[in-house]
Symmetry: C2
Subunit: 211 residues, 2 copies
C-alpha cells in the first residue's frame, strides 16, 4: 500500500460495516455489486458509499460496480485484519467472560493470550481455554510476551489505576469498557466503548416514531 493516503477516522469507523456486509456477499457467492445495491442492503446512501470507497482508490467501475472479493480484501488490509494482535482481558467478570468467548475476534486478527483478575476464585481457572492470572503476574507476563491490546472490563472505580498500569508496561492499545472516557498521556491508542450510547440512540429512535 505505497499509495496509501490519510483516510479520515469517520470513514475508518464505517469500514468494519462494509467489511461485514462484503463478507456476507462472498458467502452468498455474489461476485460484484453496484453502489446502489450495496446502499439498499446497508441502508446508507449510494453517494455516501461511493464517497467512502473512493477515499482509498478506484475500486468501482462505472456500469460494472464493485468487485466484492477484492473490495473485501482491500478493506480487510486497510483495517489490518491480515495483521495479528496479542490481547489480554483485565477483569474476568461477566463482560470479561463474554469477550473471552467472542469467536469473532480471532477471525478478525485478535488473539487472546491471557486474562487477569484479583479474585482468588478466578485466578488459576481458564475461560475458553485461556488462563486467568492474578493481576500481580501482569508485569512478568508483559515482559515475557508481547501484548498489543488490553481489554479493560474492570469496575469503574479501578479503571484509572489499571489503565496507568497497562500504559506503564508499554501496552499501546486499550479497549475500554468502563463508563469513563479514558484519557492518558503518551502514545497510547484508546477506544472507549460506551454501550449506553447505542441504547440511548435506540431510545431516541423509538421516541421519534412515537412509541
Amino acid at each position: 500500500m505505497s499509495e496509501e493516503k490519510k483516510i479520515s477516522i469517520a470513514v475508518i469507523r464505517r469500514l468494519p460495516r462494509y467489511f461485514r456486509y462484503l463478507y456476507d456477499l462472498i458467502k452468498l457467492d455474489i461476485k460484484r455489486i453496484s453502489s446502489k445495491e450495496l446502499s439498499e442492503r446497508m441502508g446508507i446512501t449510494a453517494s455516501q458509499i461511493r464517497q467512502d470507497l473512493n477515499c482509498f482508490g478506484g475500486f468501482g467501475q462505472q456500469g460494472y460496480g464493485y468487485n466484492v472479493e477484492s473490495l473485501y480484501e482491500e478493506i480487510g488490509h486497510i483495517l489490518g485484519t491480515d495483521k495479528r494482535f496479542n490481547c489480554i482481558i483485565i477483569g474476568a467478570g461477566n463482560m470479561g467472560n463474554a469477550l473471552a468467548n467472542y469467536e469473532n475476534f480471532k477471525k478478525r486478527g485478535f488473539d487472546l493470550v491471557g486474562i487477569f483478575d484479583v479474585d482468588p476464585l478466578k485466578v488459576g481457572t481458564k475461560i475458553n481455554q485461556i488462563p486467568v492470572y492474578h493481576m500481580d503476574e501482569l508485569d512478568a507476563f508483559a515482559t515475557k510476551q508481547k501484548v498489543d491490546i488490553a481489554m479493560l472490563t474492570v469496575p469503574n472505580k479501578r479503571i484509572n489505576d489499571v489503565a496507568k498500569k497497562v500504559a506503564s508496561l508499554g501496552i499501546k492499545g486499550i479497549w475500554n469498557f468502563s463508563p469513563t472516557d479514558l484519557r492518558l498521556e503518551g502514545d497510547l491508542v484508546i477506544e472507549n466503548v460506551h454501550l449506553s450510547d447505542s441504547l440511548m440512540v435506540l431510545g431516541y429512535r423509538l421516541r421519534e416514531k412515537g412509541f
Copy 2:
C-alpha cells in the same frame, strides 16, 4: 419541543457523548463552557461542536459559551432520558449478565423488567434482582406488561427466530448483540451492536501508528 426540527441520525449518534461530557462538567461544578474548551476535552473540532449543537437551537452565545446545565438538560430531553422504557434481556449468558448488572441503564431511563432464557438451571433465578423466566413465558409476560425494548444476547444461530418472536409480540425496539445485522419487516427500531467494529478501529489506529 414544538420547534423540534428533524435532526440527522449522524448528529443523534454523537449526542450521548456530549451528554456524558456535560454530566462530567456538572459534577465538576462548571457552569459554562466555550466550544473551544469543550472541543479540547472531547477531542473533536470546535466547528463540529458548533455545527452539531446549532442543529437544535441557539444554546451558545458569542463570547459566553454554552450554559452547561441547560445544554445537558436539552440534550437529555432530545435523547429521551426523561422518558422511561421497559426492557427485557433475552439470553442470560455472560453478555446478558453483564447488561443486567449495568447500573447506567436505569439512570438513562431504561428499566429492566425481566430476563428470559431456555436453560432450566437459569430459569427461576434472579440476576441483579431481576427474575429469569423461561422463553415459553414470554408471550404471557408481554401481554401483561408493556415491553418497549428487547436486548438480544442469544447465540447467533437463534437470533432470527428470537427477533421474529419479539416482533410478533409487538415489542418495538431491539438492541441486538449478535454479529448478524438484523433486518426485519415492519415498524421495528433496531440497533445492532457490533463490538468487533470498535476493536477493528483500534487495530487500525495501532497499525497507523506503526505498532
